[in-house]
């Protein structure tokens, strides 16, 4: 008797779980790290040039110009950052490393074309009537920064953190040196140094990437735009996350009582910007801890969990690995909290002195305190988002990003309307609520992790 041939082998071995645990890394969010470095660089240039470049407004103009370049290029490339990282890790998972380089080049072509078009438009709309050299340097800066962010994301996805830091460090050292040498040429000189430094940075990163991936017969490819390889949710997340981080800053820049015109139509908010920059410096230790915890403890148990799921571990073992994952997340968040509390305390103590050194009125001390707390919370949010990325919960991340953008815009708007005593609370409360919501969702998800892993994939 024939019966149904037992063709189940394929079914059992189909291993649909594989699809879900494609171990790709979303260092994408961590990619925000390098822009902390760029803030340090900008501040350094400002401090070093303050006494030499005359008039002093030139330095402000330079810093403002660069800030806009950084902000706009981050938001712009946010569109492509995550979905392309995912594309690369999927290809690497399929052992299709050859496809990475041509697609990277394809992406670069698109990013640079888009950047050129957007920046050229901006030259006429935002910076009318300014010097040609300045405008051209702005255009070059925007295009270069956009390309640099893409490569940064790619390299951090490959966990080349050390290389990124070394490259950024040397590039910014070069920028500082150049700006010292080019000071005599004023704004254009400073900006020229900035552009040159980023050009070197871009070349360095590109060489690193080319060395990392096997050469391919095709030079340029656009596979990452194919349906199924382009993740609309990741496009939205990248854009929203970056827009969310900058939303309150832009609102302060374009709210007349808190800002002044600097160059062209660019405005800055002296009272808001410097505390913000200082606050971001305070998260460097928190970021380091976060990286350590997530990339070591958490990933270790994450791998063990999914290995046990696929490789035939017992339910008890799977559950205990889940518990270990939860524990490592708790540990990581706890340590971030401790470090950031320490950073807040230091800022509280050293704040008055810092403001004095930078020549800012002590009236803004409360603002600095709130900003430091807000930035610390942002590290927590990033950690939670990163865990969700590991669990491939794009929908949840998108939800949190939308929540954050809306909250940041609404709350910052409220504080602007209310007045100076509440400045900074908009951003901090938005981060706090997002973090709380994120933790709530994460708890739910982790409590049902095995159920989701087995039943819903």
């Amino acid at each position: 008797m024939a019966g149904i041939g037992f063709e189940l082998r394929h079914l059992l071995r189909r291993n649909t779980l594989l699809g879900l645990v494609q171990a790709y890394a979303y260092a994408g969010v961590i990619g925000s790290g390098p822009w902390v470095l760029s803030i340090v660089g900008i501040l350094l240039i400002g401090i070093l040039s303050a006494s030499v470049v005359e008039p002093a407004t030139l330095v402000t103009q330079f810093q403002t110009s660069v800030t806009y370049l950084v902000a706009c290029s981050l938001i712009y490339t946010g569109l492509a950052q995550l979905t392309f990282t995912r594309f690369v890790s999927d290809r690497l998972f399929e052992k299709q490393g050859r496809q990475v380089l041509p697609n990277l080049h394809g992406l670069m072509v698109l990013v640079l074309l888009g950047a050129a078009v957007l920046a050229t438009l901006a030259l006429f709309v935002v910076l009318p009537g300014l010097g040609l050299l300045y405008r051209l340097l702005m255009l070059a800066g925007f295009a270069l920064l956009s390309a640099v962010w893409m490569l940064t994301i790619l390299l951090s996805g490959m966990k080349r953190y050390k290389a990124i830091v070394v490259l950024f460090g040397s590039a910014y050292a070069l920028i500082v040196v150049c700006s010292l040498l080019l000071r005599p040429w004023g704004l254009e000189g400073l900006l020229g140094g900035f552009v040159l430094g980023h050009f070197v940075l871009l070349v360095g990163m590109w060489l690193l990437v080319v060395r990392e991936f096997p050469a391919a017969p095709r030079l340029v490819a656009f596979d990452f735009l194919q349906p199924g390889k382009l993740y609309p949710s990741l496009v939205a997340i990248g854009l929203l996350y970056n827009a969310g981080i900058w939303a309150d800053k832009f609102m302060f820049w374009f709210f007349p009582p808190t800002s002044q015109p600097i160059i062209g139509h660019l405005r800055a908010s002296l009272i808001y910007d410097l505390p913000v920059f200082l606050a971001y410096l305070s998260i460097i230790p928190g970021m380091a801890v976060f990286l350590m915890r997530i990339e070591t403890d958490f990933v270790e148990y994450y791998d063990k969990f999914y290995d046990a799921v696929r490789g035939g571990g017992s339910l008890q073992f799977i559950e205990s690995m889940r518990d270990e994952m939860v524990y490592s997340i708790q540990q990581g968040l706890g340590q971030i909290a401790k470090i950031q509390t320490l950073a807040v305390l230091v800022t509280m103590v050293a704040g008055p002195w810092l403001l004095d050194v930078l020549g800012i009125s002590r009236l803004y001390l409360p603002l600095l305190h709130v900003q430091v707390i807000g930035a610390g919370l942002q590290v927590g949010v990033m950690a939670v988002l990163n865990v969700f990325f590991y669990l491939d919960q794009r929908r949840t991340v998108l939800l949190l990003c939308v929540l954050f953008v809306v909250l940041n815009v609404v709350l910052t708007g409220l504080t602007l309307w209310w007045g100076a005593p509440l400045y900074g609370y908009g951003f901090a409360v938005a981060q706090l609520v997002t973090l709380a919501a994120g933790l709530q969702l994460l708890t739910r998800r982790l409590n049902r992790l095995e159920y989701h892993t087995f039943m819903l994939q």
Partner: protein, 510 residues
Amino acid sequence: MTHPTAQSADIALVLEGTFPYIRGGVSGWVNQIIHAYPEHRFAIIFLGSRREDYGDFKYPLPANVVHFEEHFLYAKGSSNEEPLARAGDPVGHALVQRLLDALAEGPANAQAMRAFEAVVEQMQPGGTVQLTDFLYSRRAWELICDNYRRHCADPSFVDFFWTVRIMFQPLWVLARVAQQFIDVRAVHCASTGYAGFLGGLLAQTRGVPLILSEHGIYTKERKIDLFKSEWIRDNRNIFQRDPTELSYLRQMWIQFFEWIGRYCYQRADPIIALYEANRQRQVADGAPAERTSSIPNGIRVERFSPLRADRPAGPPPVLCLIGRVVPIKDIKTFIRAMRRVVNQRPDAEGWIAGPVDEDPTYVEECRNLVRSLGLQQNIQFLGMQRVEDLMPQIGLVVLSSISEALPLVLLEGYAAGVPTVATDVGSCRQLVEGLDAEDRALGPSGTVVPIAQPQQLADAALALLGDPVAWHAASRAAVARVERYYTDTLMFDRYRQVYERALTYAPGVA
């Protein structure tokens, strides 16, 4: 390909992996039966694993098949949508829990059967035990985890999980088929297993009579499948492994098939086996003895009787194995036996007549064995052959299988006057030595040998071929036996009664 469809039919044949897609004993029998009753309108439900596992029809549908439908139990779902989390129906969950509790008391209890019937009824579309809940709900998840913790002796959770899914998922397909099937007056299943489950479900929900004909014993054949199958992993480590003990996942499959077999048995009347040993086995597996009987296969003797005259006076020294070249036929034992036969009688030949495309690796192994035993001159692989062409040229029909039901080739040989040497499997002893006293009085129509014993097989063959008197006696017994007990007219008469009884049955009297 378009299939005939109708609003109603007399008899629904539920066929699992056989007619009309696969050639073989059961399929041939189904074909015979449908042709034998042109007065009945048949509907066929074919159950397969996946569409791609089957090619085209191997048999054209007879004209009295008015309705044909096919369902694939392991067809991949077309939806790519990510399933949503859900709690699961509490009523359905309670029903399943009640069933599990009842089953914990042991497999053969009436309470568990009632609980099972309640569950399967709710598995039909619109019920409270739905596939989506089984696949995606938290309640189902907790049930699976709970049972793993309590019972599973295999450490691998993922294998347990997928075994559960693959095992039960087809039942929902069948529940839907049962609900949507056309009106029929009787259901006839050609096996237990998933087909038997569907038959039982049709009988349960519609009150129509259910006829069950088992050619092999489903659970037993599955056991062989499961023993061989490497895809069911055994994850016990060297300290946990006890080679005498089946892996837990295999046991799960066997118990599952035993249970759905039981479900079919308690609805089916009559329960028909091919031969006596299998009837006893059915009773042991839970079939009520008073409903069981045997109806052996029959062949058209007239097709073969003229061939008797074509044979030379003495038996030709040709041993012929007719069957597919697959491991279950144990071709290798035949080849090894041929070595011994040829040692004694260098003029002897071994023919292997049957398709060689099913298991190419095994065919290659067999060919290698022929070479290494130096039998290239004596053994031929003939491929598919017309049995009528072979019979006058051969001296013995050899059967070396490790599992058989009621092999038609023996009967065909008998009808042509060719005695047999067969292994002691299925009904072979009954066919060779006779069943009751009257049958046995006809004398042996060959020799029965144990399985996997090339030496005994060879000796038995040599004894028959070397002794013309014994050979002719066996040949006469063979002809007498097939004409008295195994003709198709005999079989058709008995099934005619079965069908008539079922079709005059007033629904709802059960």
